[in-house]
Amino acid sequence: MKPEDALLAYTLRLGDTALVLGQRLVELVTHGPELEEELANANFALDYIGQARMFYSHAAALEGAGRTEDDFAYLRDGQQFGNVLLVEQPNGDFGDTIVRQVLFETFYIRQLDTLTRCSDPGLAGIAARAVKEIRYHLRHGLQWLVRLGDGTGESHARVQASLHRLWPYCGELFAGDDVDEIVGTHYGGPDLSAIREQWEHEVHALLAEATLEVPDEPWMNAAGRQGVHTEHFGYLIAEMQFLKRAYPEATW
């Protein structure tokens, strides 16, 4: 694989991950547990949709084939989306959502942080912006993780169950392929095994603070980055893409 092809694939995967998580958060609108959370959730969703647009526009420029952000979002099928599977998992209850956010964002913030120093200026610029947003998301997510873990008996049990449900998807975050490797060597992209070590250290400490146990479930083999999704994904994109695809000639 040529380095520029790897960079394009890598950028698209970032866009896909941001879009899919943004879409999941969008589904939560009007269902928040209180008004302040409604506002926070909409903010986070907006950040992710915004990041997806930036990654896709950059991918379109790298590709140079005249495609647009919407072509990537709306006119590709499931196997062409390279998001990690953790972010496509259904929202579940508020605890599931918080756990998904924390597990993903403690990884993502490190990925972005390295990318701010990568040698592709476009990607570095997007990462610099995104990393600030995610820092703010994480502050919110961590506060809730501790509140739920160390709140009532019910909240503790629920959020511990959420952790067990979502934990198996975490391994994929660190399971890079040749795209990650090439972007690492040629553009200074992140070293996933180094991130994994930091992530484990941080997450274990966070769970301890939240009085939660580190799940003993093994990490599953997952290949979201290569376009192999969970069954949930087909419904997510069917809903997201329906209107655009139903009227292919229309502009909106």
């Binding site: 008004l35 959370e37 949709i49 509140r147 709140g151 009532t152 209107l243 655009k244 909106w252």
Partner: protein, 329 residues
């Protein structure tokens, strides 16, 4: 606007500190007449306080319930840009709800109590949000017509005699005009788009036109709160005046879009310089307010479910805060 003067409540809480002597009432009215702002700590007649609580909380509830019809299309928005714009709008509405609950709280009622009144069905919200959003042009029509009607009503509220409400409205009105423009833009693109899109735009206008006119509330002859609210400068124009203003502004916009306003009696009257419009179906209006609109039950169920599903979360937050307050003490 979102307030419509819909309430049927009437009980006063007993406030012994607020003896309403003729001198006090007169002095209060003199301040209003002098266009002074009444602030939260100032003395005010109980009926003034109650009227404001009713109106502001109704307005807040409308912002919150109003997120649902638009939220309905968020996952299906046809471009990422439209999705982001709509999401930002829906988020603004949540913010409006928050400021308005805050403004009402300055009058001595808690947000929890207001929310409980909404969920029990005691408090009302604008009837417009009990209509469904069935195609993407409905998102355009809501911005154009519903936010447009809201602005018409809310601009005068920026000068409302009650300071905290007036200030909340200044902030809100800025955002509402952005909402109106994005809605009109969606309509414009669709009305100039494919045949299918034009049909969607017309269909949306057909369904949203009359309910938008109903947003201004009952006609002046049937409006029971108007006269006192006018004297207190909570209201500055009558329902029918505002409705007329809305029609006069909006009909030329529909013409510009090439869409047909679904009113066979609509005509421009040269002598008055206003559009004359047909009779509003007041039976429909009262039905929707009484809870029998197309989406009343659905809207309330969604809100109740969110409240119920969030109960364990709010409880956890309280328990955590209490534990840590105890540790700190």
């Amino acid at each position: 606007m979102y307030t419509q003067g819909l309430d049927q409540q009437g009980k006063t809480e007993n406030r012994r500190d607020s003896l309403e002597t003729p001198e006090r009432l007169e002095a209060f009215q003199a301040r209003i007449d002098a266009e002074e702002k009444i602030e939260a700590k100032d003395w005010m007649p109980e009926a003034y306080r109650r009227t404001l609580i009713r109106q502001i909380s109704q307005h807040a509830h409308s912002e919150i319930i109003g997120m649902q019809p638009e939220g309905n299309w968020l996952t299906r928005a046809p471009s990422l840009k439209r999705k982001a714009i709509l999401l930002a709008k829906v988020q603004d509405e949540a913010g409006h709800g928050l400021y308005l609950y805050g403004a009402a709280e300055t009058l001595g009622i808690s947000r929890d109590r207001m929310v409980a009144d909404l969920l029990s069905g005691k408090a009302k919200y604008s009837s417009i949000f009990n209509y469904p959003t069935l195609n993407w042009a409905d998102i355009g029509a809501i911005g154009w017509l519903v936010d447009g009607a809201a602005i018409m009503n809310q601009i005068p509220l920026c000068r409302c005699s009650y300071g905290p409400y007036a200030r909340a409205m200044v902030r809100i009105c800025k955002e509402e005009s952005f909402h109106q423009r994005q809605g009109f833009e969606i309509m414009h693109v669709m009305a100039n788009g494919s045949e299918d899109q034009k049909a969607m735009a017309q269909d949306a206008l057909n369904r949203w036109w009359w309910p938008s006119l109903m947003m201004f509330g009952p006609s002046d002859k049937d409006s029971k709160h108007s006269a006192q609210s006018m004297a207190w400068k909570i209201k500055r124009f009558s329902n029918d005046e505002l409705r007329q203003k809305f029609v006069d502004v909006t009909v030329p916009q529909a013409d510009f879009l090439g869409l047909t306003v679904p009113d066979p009696d609509l005509r421009f009257d040269e002598t008055s310089g206003h559009y004359c419009y047909g009779e509003i179906d007041w039976q429909e209006f009262h039905d929707v307010i009484a809870g029998n609109g197309p989406c009343n039950r659905q809207r309330m169920e969604t809100r109740r479910r969110a409240q119920d599903d969030g109960a364990w979360v709010r409880e956890a937050a309280r328990a955590y805060a209490a534990k840590h307050a105890a540790k700190a003490a």
